[in-house]
């Protein structure tokens, strides 16, 4: 009887303490380690030796080689957005607003986010898998024993390249998206290219382009950082290569939405 009462009584201080779930612990640990990784990136960025050749190679791979994919998705974004928005605007007799509305939606929100998500899938996973594979096959160790700084050669160049190339890809997607919108408008109406672009650009201010570009710089930085972190810290075993690529895409996509949400709040305050 006594023991039953004891069992019902309040647990001692230790057992009353709330234990943090393991997944939450792991999430915080990951954030801490990525932050450390980012600090190391900024530290190494300004120290010689500067890997210009490797950086330009990465810019070519990340930027130029992504152009076809970004062009196709950008064109479809503009076309679909125009076709979806036209009936609603036509109901209110506001079809003439279509170029301006599509241009604003594309430049401020849709092109940066969709391009970043496409790049998270293509570039983030590629970096994660490439570095993960290099880690597992001891290629990173081989660089280190040859007195080559693998962090600088592999990580710094890739993060810099994504940070620079993704805003440029976003601007390219803006242009191709507007052309897609022009094609969409011309399915039902006849508008010349010059008139369409005149109407679209007249609704865009400088303030629409700058925040979207700054946002894209952050998207690019985090796609590179997360891809490199997951690949560079992959554990031994081929399974970890797939895991690194997969985690890079999931984490980068989630980060893109978080940055986008914060950017919207900050722009509203300005």
């Amino acid at each position: 009887m006594k023991s039953a009462i004891q069992e019902l009584s309040l647990p001692d201080k230790e057992t009353r303490a709330i234990r943090m779930p393991d997944y939450l612990k792991e999430a915080f640990t990951n954030v801490g380690q990525i932050t450390q990784f980012a600090f190391r990136f900024f530290k190494e960025l300004f120290l010689p030796r500067y890997e210009f050749k490797a950086f330009t190679e990465q810019c070519y791979k990340i930027g130029y080689k992504s152009l076809p994919l970004v062009a196709i998705t950008g064109f479809i974004m503009g076309l679909v957005l125009t076709l979806q928005a036209r009936p609603t605007l036509a109901e209110f007799g506001a079809e003439s607003w279509l170029p301006g509305m599509v241009a604003l939606s594309l430049i401020r929100e849709i092109a940066p986010v969709v391009t970043a998500l496409i790049c998270a899938g293509k570039i983030g996973s590629g970096i994660g898998a490439e570095l993960g594979s290099m880690k597992v096959t001891e290629q990173i160790d081989a660089m280190e024993v040859s007195a080559i700084n693998p962090f600088k050669y592999l990580v710094v160049t890739r993060i810099l390249a994504t940070t620079l190339m993704i805003p440029l890809l976003v601007l390219f997607a803006d242009g191709v998206g507007l052309f897609g919108a022009f094609v969409g408008v011309n399915i039902h109406n006849h508008v010349t290219l010059i008139r369409f672009f005149h109407q679209a650009i007249s609704k865009i201010d400088f303030i629409d382009i700058i925040p979207a570009t700054i946002k894209s710089v952050f998207f690019g930085f985090f796609i590179g950082l997360i891809g490199c972190y997951n690949g560079y810290t992959a554990e031994n075993g081929t399974e970890s290569v797939g895991k690194a690529a997969n985690t890079a895409v999931v984490m980068a996509s989630l980060t893109i939405f978080i940055i986008d949400m914060l950017a919207v709040q900050i722009i509203d305050l300005l």
Binding site: M134, T137, E138, Q139, D141, A142, E144, V145, S146, I148
Partner: protein, 257 residues
């Protein structure tokens, strides 16, 4: 069998000739202590083979020597530099004088054989012209018998060829010390013998000192001036191939049967 570390035996007159000197090396991974007080010396021009069952810390030992793993306790002197306490920049200067042949050869997948050899050379020898580097690459590939593979990608090479190219990439930096991590693992008997002969030829040509981690007794017999046997993270036997083959200890003898 009670495992005890062998006492360190250094003749003070021979200290200058030691290229590697390890004292009381301890290394832990989490709670698991892999190396439990290793004492070992390697003399100039000596080939030392390290034997031991899987998981006894052989690979960890050579990774500690080249600074790929940090040590928990002890001292590693390489070419009169205490590599456990020097800065990263100084460590790189020592690393240039050491070569490391990985078990998988660790060739850079995205580069051709020529680029694999040129990449470390270009960075460590900035004074060399492109023509001089090209000549060195051709000479090194000739030495390992793979001149024809110069424009091939690593994916086009067999396991034995990859090991040879890995060796050429290491030797092109003219190291004073070579560390081989299971150089003949995964190769057929003939190719294993060829790699073992190449290790011996390298030592004779360049007068390098080497540590060879292996399970291949044919390789050990051919290459070893001295054999060190590890058990549970400590050195339990040390001597020439012949001496250990005729050891009183049954467990030591079991490696040679």
């Amino acid at each position: 069998m009670q495992v005890q570390a062998l006492p360190i035996t250094i003749n003070k007159n021979d200290t200058a000739k030691n290229v590697i000197q390890i004292k009381g090396l301890h290394k832990k991974f989490g709670e698991h202590e892999v190396l439990k007080g290793i004492n070992l010396t390697i003399k100039k021009g000596e080939n030392v083979v390290v034997l031991g069952k899987s998981g006894t810390g052989k690979s960890v030992l050579i990774k500690c020597i080249i600074g790929l793993e940090t040590i928990d306790e002890g001292e590693i002197m390489v070419l009169d530099q205490n590599i456990s306490s020097i800065s990263g920049k100084e460590l790189n200067k020592v690393r240039i004088k050491m070569g490391f042949l990985f078990q998988s050869a660790a060739l850079y997948d995205s580069m051709t054989v020529r680029q694999n050899l040129d990449f470390p050379l270009q960075r460590s020898s900035k004074h060399l012209s492109a023509k001089e580097r090209e000549d060195m690459i051709i000479e090194e590939l000739h030495d390992v018998g793979l001149s024809d593979a110069i424009d091939k990608m690593p994916s086009e090479l067999s396991g034995g060829m990859r090991k040879r190219i890995g060796l050429a990439r290491t030797l092109i930096l003219k190291p004073e010390i070579m560390l081989y991590d299971e150089p003949t693992t995964g190769l057929d008997t003939i190719t294993s013998k060829e790699i073992s002969e190449l290790i011996l030829a390298v030592q004779q040509k360049n007068k390098t000192s080497s540590i060879i981690i292996t399970h291949d007794m044919a390789c050990a017999k051919l290459t070893a001036d001295r054999i060190v046997i590890l058990k549970d993270g400590v050195v339990v036997a040390e001597g020439t191939y012949e001496a250990l083959e005729n050891s009183q200890d049954e467990w030591v003898r079991s490696f040679f049967n």
